[in-house]
């Protein structure tokens, strides 16, 4: 497989949220606004690339029996380092992304890609896979957040779209937890229909 294929696979064909159903927790929790979705996506992509890099680099050193605890230690350490360094040297970025960083430790996409890809592949394809999966995750989050922010707050990325009168009485359920589940069902259903159509067409 070429690097380009490793990269593009995560965006649509094996999109972590829509196709692998990974990372559902942040997908439901932080998609209340497009800004949050972009922030979480950027932070997760960053960590994903470096954790894939580290896991791939040490894949031959770490005994397979303790690989999962080792990956968790590597990922948690790396996330904490990023949190501390960003807080100290990039405070502006930290104040917008900071709240998402501790959440990344529990994002199963990171561990999923470490186990599913990086520990069997060389460093460069692993990095490409990390970028692709990260972008796919970001894309999925932004799609979901677009629906939730427009319906639940009348705005998109902070810009007021539907006017003051809508913002005073929005469809609040879209921004609350039940709305996240309902919208997720619609979005996943849509992608399943598309998948079926595509297969039907090929036959």
């Amino acid at each position: 497989m070429s690097i380009a294929q490793d990269f593009s696979r995560g965006i649509m064909r094996e999109n972590p949220v829509f196709k692998q159903a990974l990372g559902m927790c942040p997908f439901l929790a932080v998609t209340t606004s497009v800004e949050n979705a972009l922030g979480m996506g950027a932070a997760a992509t960053f960590v994903l690339v470096f954790s894939n890099f580290l896991v791939s680099l040490f894949r031959k050193v770490i005994p397979s029996k303790v690989r999962i605890p080792s990956y968790i230690v590597i990922i948690a350490t790396f996330v904490t380092l990023v949190d501390l360094l960003m807080n100290a040297y990039l405070p502006a970025l930290h104040s917008s992304l900071g709240i998402f960083i501790p959440l990344i430790v529990v994002n199963c996409i990171i561990l999923g890609r470490a186990e599913g890809f990086a520990n069997k592949n060389k460093v460069l394809p692993s990095i490409a896979d990390g970028i692709g999966m990260g972008l796919g995750f970001t894309l999925a989050m932004v799609i979901m957040a677009t629906f939730r922010e427009i319906l639940g707050n009348g705005s998109w990325l902070g810009f007021n779209l539907l006017g003051e009168s809508y913002q005073n009485q929005p469809m609040l359920i879209a921004i609350l937890a039940p709305g996240a589940f309902i919208l997720m069902a619609f979005i996943l259903g849509f992608f399943n229909i598309m998948e079926k159509r595509k297969r039907g067409g090929a036959r």
Binding site: S33, L84, A88, N153
Partner: protein, 200 residues
């Protein structure tokens, strides 16, 4: 047996490297982070105090006997800073109100003039629900209503006052409102600002 020791020591090595790396980076970054927090607080003080008067302002920490601390759970003392103009005339006071919201303790820096009227505020810290309670950081959604009020009029409309809570975020709005009112009450009980008439 040898296998277990080999595998176990490998895991221990990974954890040891991680611990050393974390310890080192923490020791390097923690003073910088603390300094930045101080700086952010100072910036907020200058920003909020600008609502009392324009021009050169002097800050002085105020020590008051008998000042009750309504935020004893989260901070050891209620630190009040007096704001003076360049001639030394006292214009008002700054303090930080802590209110337990939905998912965090909302910290709001408050400026109050010597007559006990609120003139400015800014949210220093909150981790409320994004899209709901987190809107408290946007002054146009809620906190703009505070300017010009005194302790007796700080009540949500649901609690019998005139303040409109953020839609879907009554807990956050109430936490901030009540924490500011408790702070003002503590100041007036200690004789720093006049007791506001009315409901209290």
């Amino acid at each position: 047996m040898g296998e277990i020791i080999r595998v176990g020591s490998m895991l221990m090595l990974v954890a040891a490297i991680a611990a050393v790396a974390l310890g080192y980076v923490n020791s390097v970054t923690s003073p910088i982070i603390a300094e930045q927090k101080e700086q952010a607080k100072l910036d907020a003080m200058i920003d909020v105090a600008g609502s009392l008067a324009s021009g050169e302002l002097m800050f002085d920490s105020l020590s008051v006997p008998d000042l009750a601390n309504p935020y004893a759970e989260v901070d050891e003392t209620l630190a009040v800073v007096s704001v003076n103009d360049s001639a030394g005339v006292e214009l008002g006071y700054l303090f930080v109100a802590y209110g337990k919201g939905y998912s965090s303790t909302v910290q709001t820096m408050i400026a109050v003039n010597t007559a006990g009227t609120l003139t400015g505020n800014t949210v220093l810290y909150q981790q409320e629900t994004p899209g709901l309670g987190a809107n408290v950081s946007n002054p146009a959604r809620f906190l703009y209503q505070f300017d010009g009020l005194n302790a007796s009029s700080l009540l949500l409309s649901k609690d019998g006052g005139d303040l409109d809570a953020i839609t879907g975020s009554t807990i956050t709005s109430r936490a901030v409102t009540n924490s500011v009112r408790n702070g003002l009450d503590a100041l007036s009980a200690a004789g720093i600002i006049p007791v506001s008439g009315g409901a209290q």
